[in-house]
């Protein structure tokens, strides 16, 4: 079992904050197949189409038959921890601060032997399951977990380097007025977040969820309007160093296309709330998150974007909305590159229509808010970067991978 994490003591404000470092993060183009799998929480290795050999590490040619047809496929993650060692000294600045560090070789049931980081409960000679995770450099690494869950296993210090677990972290939900924001506040409170800051714009405007929001444990309502640069900056100045995870729940959902809409007022609001709102949050909170990527147990960990899956392919019935979401996705990709030096993950969570009033006329399947909120928490607990929630999102992703042109036409119907 893992020693349970204790809630970190209050930080001594006179102490220097340790700067974040990253493990070596250069990967070959082929190896980014592992990055893609790790980002989504899949365990995928190259499988030779000609001789069925499962290959690790990633290569450009099959070591068995020299075939170049080596797509990544999900494979069984079970294996045996053959040997382990503990690194006690190293010249690598990142690992120097973290020794002793256990690594080992795992003989996978699928075939290859993989060098992996070891969870504290993985025992030499024992069965393990291998997971691909994104380390602080954003690159895929393998970690061997005990075959069956052990007590407090998420608290393992090796694993926690690769996840963004909300436990004991302080979260900012940017908009508590939305039902999405309220569901998110509940989920993060349930997940053991130390403080759930919930942003609220225009406090003079009452809304039905207010009383419920205040009842959620460890929720602190803070003034925040993502359309107001001053408000965003003020919150970051006052509380930025106490916020480890930002979940942007500000939404602006309206039906209507690009041609079939009357004027630009709604489009401007969409862009102001979603795209410019994201930029305001990124500029206000990004630098401080990045600087606190190694700030102890409750280090800065993640920025979560809630994105319509139609960021990936326009849905003309909600066409202008889709276009704004696409802009947010593009900005999120940029944020990833900018926050990676701090080891801070940018998590993109894609979903189809939600069970909210703005999708009232859309038939099911729709994603309920609790499902969405739990998916976000789970993604952080597992250290994911790309998450697809619900049937519509999964369907769009698959159809996009197969034939984007067909999907474009199909979305118009």
């Amino acid at each position: 079992m893992t020693e349970p994490l204790v809630r970190p003591r209050r930080k001594n404000p006179l102490k220097r904050t340790r700067l974040p470092l990253r493990p070596q993060g250069v990967r070959s183009r082929a190896a980014h197949g592992l990055t893609a799998a790790a980002a989504e929480g899949r365990f995928a290795l190259q499988v030779c189409l000609d001789c069925n050999t499962v290959i690790y590490p990633p290569r450009d040619a099959c070591p068995s038959c020299l075939s170049a047809r080596l797509p990544f496929r999900d494979v069984a993650r079970g294996g045996t921890l053959v040997a382990e060692t503990t690194v006690r000294t190293t010249t690598d600045p990142y690992f120097r601060e973290r020794t002793p560090w256990r690594v080992g070789t795992v003989k996978l049931d699928a075939g290859p032997v993989v060098v992996a980081h070891l969870h504290g409960d993985a025992v030499e000679g024992g069965r393990v399951r291998l997971e691909l995770k994104l380390d602080k450099s954003g690159s895929a690494v393998a970690i061997a977990l005990p075959e069956k869950d052990t007590e407090n296993m998420a608290d393992d210090r090796y694993l926690r380097e690769m996840t963004c677990d909300p436990k004991f972290r302080r979260v900012l939900i940017t908009d508590g007025r939305t039902t999405v924001g309220q569901a998110m506040a509940q989920a993060f409170s349930d997940a053991g977040a130390a403080i759930v800051f919930v942003g609220l714009a225009d406090p003079w405007k009452p809304f039905p969820g207010m009383a419920g929001l205040r009842k959620i444990e460890r929720v602190e309502i803070v003034p925040l309007d993502v359309t107001d640069s001053e408000s965003v900056t003020e919150l970051a100045e006052q509380n930025g160093a106490r916020i480890d995870i930002v979940v942007n729940t500000a939404e602006h959902v309206r039906a209507g296309g690009v041609v079939d809409r009357h004027g630009l007022t709604i489009a401007r609001e969409e862009i102001d709330v979603r795209y410019l709102g994201l930029l305001r949050l990124a500029q206000a909170f990004g630098p401080i998150l990045r600087s606190r990527g190694a700030d102890g147990v409750n280090s800065a960990a993640a920025f979560v974007n809630l994105l319509s899956v139609h960021a990936l392919m326009n849905w003309p019935a909600y066409g202008s909305y889709s276009a704004t979401e696409a802009a947010c996705l593009s900005a999120a990709q940029c944020m990833r590159a900018e926050l990676r030096p701090g080891g801070v993950k940018v998590v993109n969570v894609f979903f189809g229509p939600l069970e909210t009033e703005w999708f009232q006329t859309v038939p099911p399947p729709k994603v309920t808010l609790a499902v969405l909120a739990n998916a976000v928490v789970r993604a952080l607990q597992h250290g994911l970067e790309d998450v697809f929630v619900g049937d519509v999102a999964e369907d769009i992703r698959q159809r996009l991978a197969v034939n984007p042109k067909a999907l474009e036409r199909e979305m118009a119907n």
């Binding site: 225009d202 406090p203 003079w204 405007k205 309007d225 107001d228 640069s229 001053e230 007022t265 609001e269």
Partner: protein
């Protein structure tokens, strides 16, 4: 021409400078936090005041500080032109850029119903109430602004907006009194401290939103989100309310000033 010759504008300027004429600011500060009118979310919305720093003596402009601001025509303390309402859409010179500029200076009467509003946020101004006011202060002279003192500007924003499950609860005029102001007293316009010139529940009147309907239908003006009305006398103040010259603008945020004779308050 003879009358004009007797006007001594320099004496006026000296009186302003000496404080014999007091200048009172009736304007709320344009800020991001000040409430803007709320409509059902599927309808078009008035943009709240927003400000983006262009530079502040920094790499974006080393020796100067300035901002870009954005806002709606009806954000903050603002002027309503007749073209704002469907009843005034076909009147001549009905937009802020075409109204005769002489109309931006006019006297005001101030009807104090602050006590009544403190007791009841749904206080509705009626003809009898105004008749009682006239019994004390004399009849409203033609082409005067009627300013409704409710002390609403002193409320915190939640009470100021007065939003409940069934909409806004803020004081305002009944339809009959607005029609009467226009037809019997030939008023210049109607001004309030609340977010709009109309009663909070004014959508249930016939016609809905009578202050907008009757005032603008007869080419009269509106002022809202005023403050400091408690510093004005019931009669005798002169209002300077000149909206921005926006091409075919339906209204405009503006600085509203009152000139009041007499020295110290």
């Amino acid at each position: 021409m003879g009358v004009l010759m007797t006007v001594d504008l320099m004496a006026f300027a000296r009186a302003v400078a000496s404080g014999d004429i007091r200048v009172i600011d009736l304007t709320q500060t344009l800020s991001q936090e000040f409430p803007t009118i709320v409509l059902p979310p599927e309808l078009g919305q008035c943009a709240p005041f927003r400000m983006e720093e262009v530079s502040r003596y920094d790499e974006r402009g080393p020796a100067w500080y300035w901002n870009n601001v954005s806002l709606g025509e009806h954000t903050g303390t603002h002027f309503d032109a007749p073209i704002h309402w469907i009843s005034g859409k076909d009147l001549p010179n009905n937009a802020v850029d075409t109204i005769n500029v002489a109309q931006f200076i006019a006297p005001a009467v101030v009807i104090d119903c602050s006590k009544e509003c403190a007791a009841d946020p749904d206080f509705a101004l009626t003809i009898p109430f105004v008749e009682q006011w006239e019994a004390r202060h004399g009849e409203i002279e033609p082409r005067s602004w009627v300013l409704l003192r409710t002390d609403w500007s002193k409320h915190a924003y939640t009470d100021y907006a007065g939003l409940r499950d069934d909409g806004a609860h803020t004081p305002g005029p009944e339809p009959a009194v607005v029609k009467w102001f226009v037809e019997q007293r030939d008023v210049h316009g109607f001004g309030t401290e609340t977010i709009g010139t109309d009663f909070g529940q004014g959508q249930h009147f016939n016609p809905p939103y009578p202050a907008h309907f009757f005032m603008h239908g007869k080419g009269r003006f509106g002022l809202q989100c005023l403050t400091n009305l408690d510093l004005l006398p019931p009669k005798g103040a002169i209002i300077i309310a000149a909206p921005l010259k926006i091409k075919q603008g339906s209204g405009s945020p503006l600085r509203v000033l009152a000139l009041v004779a007499g020295g110290n308050v």
